[in-house]
């Protein structure tokens, strides 16, 4: 019962981002250690290293004092480590039983013993007290039940170390109760539990100790019984980037109302109402899955609006598709710029000219000179670091790719009235972030209304003029920049 797992000096560098730096902590058998941190704090990377999916650049993991060197997920499984991922790792066409025993089906001489498979699955399902047929294809189960199957997979392996990544994100209350009962049973059996979540109430219910991560570093660890919510939130937030924000040259002249949403509803958002003025930067804060991206998609005509209305530029609009929204002067820079924003293997010039090709036409053909001029002006305006307009976007750094997208929607050939930026600084370095903030303020000065969605609290409360906080598809609060602190925004984003 004196088993433990120890992380020593774990570091991981992804292109442009220090995901983890010198993270050391220890988790004991029979206890649950909660990992807490904002989005991007490094929790997921840490779990991927634990599961052997990603290899750390520095540092080591040891279990019961024996150093481990996981080269693959199989190594981690053999060493007794199971990780339950938030993105379910299931085969929808496979049965519940086959998913639970994936990679380790019962049987001898390579022949599957279906009788034993079914019996052992029924036993596990029974322990969970759920009514699930072992032969049912997993894809036919409701999402919450699929998540439970994912958990049964780890339970079945009976590993010494079991890590949960936001396990309750898609569970209902009754299933959460089952999960907590199972976790308590695991603790009683001497398992080491690592529990990643940003739901504070859960962490207080289930964990014994709490480790707080921030920007890839371990801030501190608490005994759960000796800590409180305020203390945790302060630890998650504490950081100083003051100067960057103090030096921003902001817009202070707001115009009339540019965009108004009244009780807007889609499949993902509930009765969202707000207004945005010309020249204003409106921040949207919240945790991943709070409904901010979905709100942007609703305004942009990408998701179907079920009820409510949008008033844009003085008239009620109902965009059937993003094409209509673009024609009306709305631009969206999506969160996943590589998948949804850019054509990676085309030049900077082609990417910038994309929405205005019609305007660059001379007779039937593209006017290459106008095209080139457009790109060069964006490169100069935003300081895009490149050898020329011909360079492929794929060869640029993340920050410069983001500038290409901004350049596309603000070129002289296009009249953007509303710019929606979804996580514009994701994965880009601190220096370039500061440039992007200034670019955002410059848009506002031109009278463009900006919706600035960001999961990084510090930037959203320091760059935006006004901050709306979302949770579960609703707006849970509104704060002016002067009154917003990371503590009160986070409290709204996590409010029950």
């Amino acid at each position: 019962m004196d088993g433990h797992i120890e992380f020593t000096g774990i570091g991981k560098l992804f292109p442009g981002v220090q995901a983890l730096a010198d993270v050391s902590f220890r988790a004991e058998s029979g206890q649950a250690l909660a990992l807490l941190g904002e989005n991007g704090a490094g929790k997921s990377t840490l779990l991927k290293i634990l599961s052997g999916d990603v290899r750390p650049d520095s540092g080591a993991i040891s279990i019961d004092g024996r150093p481990q060197n996981f080269q693959s997920p199989l190594d981690a499984l053999r060493a007794g480590v199971s990780v339950i991922y938030q993105e379910r790792q299931l085969v929808p066409t496979g049965s519940v039983a086959e998913n639970i025993f994936a990679g380790d089906l019962p049987g001898r001489f390579g022949i599957v013993d279906y009788g034993a498979l079914r019996a052992r699955t029924a036993e596990i399902v029974g322990k969970f007290g759920l009514n699930i047929d072992p032969d049912e294809p997993v894809g036919r189960l409701p999402i919450a039940r699929q998540q439970m199957v994912e958990i049964m997979k780890a339970y079945r392996r009976d590993s010494a170390v079991i890590a949960f990544d936001e396990p309750t994100a898609s569970l209902t209350d009754s299933e959460i109760a089952v999960l907590f009962r199972i976790i308590r049973e695991m603790k009683a059996n001497g398992k080491i539990i690592i529990y990643v979540s940003h739901r504070l109430s859960e962490i207080f219910q289930i964990s014994d100790r709490i480790a707080v991560l921030k920007d890839g570093r371990l801030v501190t660890t608490f005994e759960t019984s000796a800590s409180n919510e305020d203390e945790l939130i302060r630890a998650m937030v504490g950081r100083d980037l003051g100067d960057t924000y103090a030096n921003l040259s902001r817009n202070d002249k707001f115009g009339d109302t540019l965009l108004e949403a009244r009780e807007l509803e889609t499949e993902y958002i509930r009765k969202v109402s707000f207004a945005l003025r010309r020249g204003e930067v409106l921040g949207f804060a919240g945790l991943v899955g709070a409904g901010r991206t979905e709100l942007a998609r609703a305004i942009f005509g990408a998701d179907r609006v079920l009820s409510g209305s949008v008033i844009f530029n003085g008239e009620e609009v109902s965009f059937k598709s993003p094409k209509d929204a673009i024609a009306a002067g709305i631009a969206l820079c999506p969160e996943d710029r590589k998948e949804q924003g850019l054509v990676l293997f085309r030049s900077i010039r082609d990417n910038i000219a994309m929405p205005v090709l019609q305007k660059l036409k001379r007779l039937l053909f593209l006017d290459r000179r106008a095209d080139q001029k457009l790109a060069e002006s964006a490169i100069e305006r935003y300081g895009i670091r490149t050898t020329g307009a011909d360079k492929l976007v794929a060869e640029l750094s993340g920050g410069n790719q983001q500038k290409v997208i901004l350049g596309r929607w603000t070129s002289e050939k296009i009249e953007t009235k509303l710019l929606i930026l979804d996580e514009p600084t994701k994965g880009i370095d601190v220096g370039t972030k500061a440039e992007v903030y200034q670019i955002i303020c410059d848009f506002a000065k031109q009278g463009i209304g900006v919706i600035f969605i960001s999961s990084e609290l510090t930037e959203v409360i320091n760059v935006a003029d006004r901050i709306l906080v979302m949770k579960g598809g609703r707006i849970t609060g509104e704060l002016a920049r002067a009154e917003a602190t990371e503590e009160n925004v986070l409290a709204l984003a996590m409010s029950e």
Binding site: Y85, Q89, V91, T93, G94, E98, A102, G103, I111
Partner: protein, 323 residues
């Protein structure tokens, strides 16, 4: 329990295809009585066996989420290789085994391109297909290489009762591989890899190892199919076999093997093959002009996919309220 299984089967895809086969056979029999004659059925079984044998290796690859578009040309070049080997006076079992070994090597090349270099199977095997087609022309000097080993002929043109030898061997392969896919841990790993690669990897299965084995397997089976075809026509030629892989893929998908992997089975592929070949054979039986036959073959495939499409939509709709 058995009743439930029978009910499930009757509502399934294979039962639907069998029903379509019966309808097709009935129509052609009415149009031409000799459609159901033993002679025509033997011809049908013989014609099924080439693409059918390829479909065994290809079906496994498709289920794992890969494809081997070179399997036709692998068979083609194997036919020439076996003919050349037999030409040296080598005993035919040795020549056949060497040819199958050669097929394994071709499969290894595919596995190397896809798993070591990371190319997409679709493109990599199209490329290799062209390489093999060229090599087939080179080693055969562009003309057919005839086979004079009488004993070897029997593999391709012998028969037991009304069952031609190539058909028996194909059916045996289908049976063995169906059992492997259904009852062995490796077989289940094939489905796991095709259904969700990252889940497979995180469960400790190596998708690369699984697909490498399947590529080698497909190469070996393609070589075997090519050798059997050469035995049937008494020669290896640069135009043999080529193109049969498309029938094999079409039949597999028609029979419920997902092109993106993870679902379906060889049983469905087998029934799909019978349907395609029964239809093509019937077009001959009613004497449709050859040019129109090609078009009609495409039409039945698209029609079958349409039936499937609407069936699938119905099933999805039926599932919705539950979730």
């Amino acid at each position: 329990m058995v009743g439930v299984k029978v009910g499930k089967f009757l509502r399934g895809k294979i039962a639907a295809l069998l029903a379509v086969i019966l309808v097709v056979a009935a129509i052609f029999t009415i149009a031409n009585k000799s459609y159901m004659s033993p002679k025509n059925i033997m011809a049908l079984m013989t014609s099924v066996s080439l693409s059918g044998t390829l479909a065994v290796g290809l079906g496994c690859l498709l289920i794992s989420g890969h494809v081997d578009l070179a399997s036709g040309t692998e068979g083609c070049i194997a036919g020439i290789v076996v003919a050349l080997l037999l030409g040296t006076g080598m005993p035919w079992p040795v020549a056949l085994l060497l040819t199958i070994a050669f097929g394994c090597v071709m499969g290894l090349v595919n596995a190397f391109l896809v798993n070591t270099l990371g190319f997409m199977a679709f493109i990599a095997t199209i490329g290799m297909s062209s390489v093999y087609k060229g090599l087939a022309l080179v080693i055969s000097n562009g003309s057919n290489v005839s086979i004079s080993n009488q004993a070897f002929y029997d593999i391709g043109s012998g028969s037991i009762g009304i069952f031609p030898a190539p058909f028996i061997m194909m059916a045996a392969l289908f049976a063995v591989y169906t059992l492997i896919l259904k009852f062995t841990k490796f077989g289940r790993a094939v489905y796991l890899c095709g259904g969700n690669v990252s889940a497979a990897r995180l469960a400790g299965v190596s998708p690369k190892r699984v697909s490498s084995i399947l590529f080698v397997n497909s190469g070996a089976i393609s070589a075997f199919a090519g050798a059997v075809f050469a035995a049937r026509v008494h020669m290896g030629g640069p135009n043999n076999v080529f193109g049969a892989e498309m029938d094999a893929i079409a039949a597999s998908v028609l029979g419920g093997v997902s092109f993106t992997g993870g679902s379906g089975g060889l049983g469905g592929a087998f029934v799909g093959l019978i349907l395609i070949n029964a239809f093509n054979n019937g077009l001959n039986a009613i004497g449709l002009q050859a040019y129109w036959q090609t078009a009609a073959q495409g039409v039945i495939l698209i029609a079958a996919l349409l039936v499937d499409y609407f069936g699938e939509r119905g099933r999805v709709r039926a599932l919705k309220p539950a979730s």
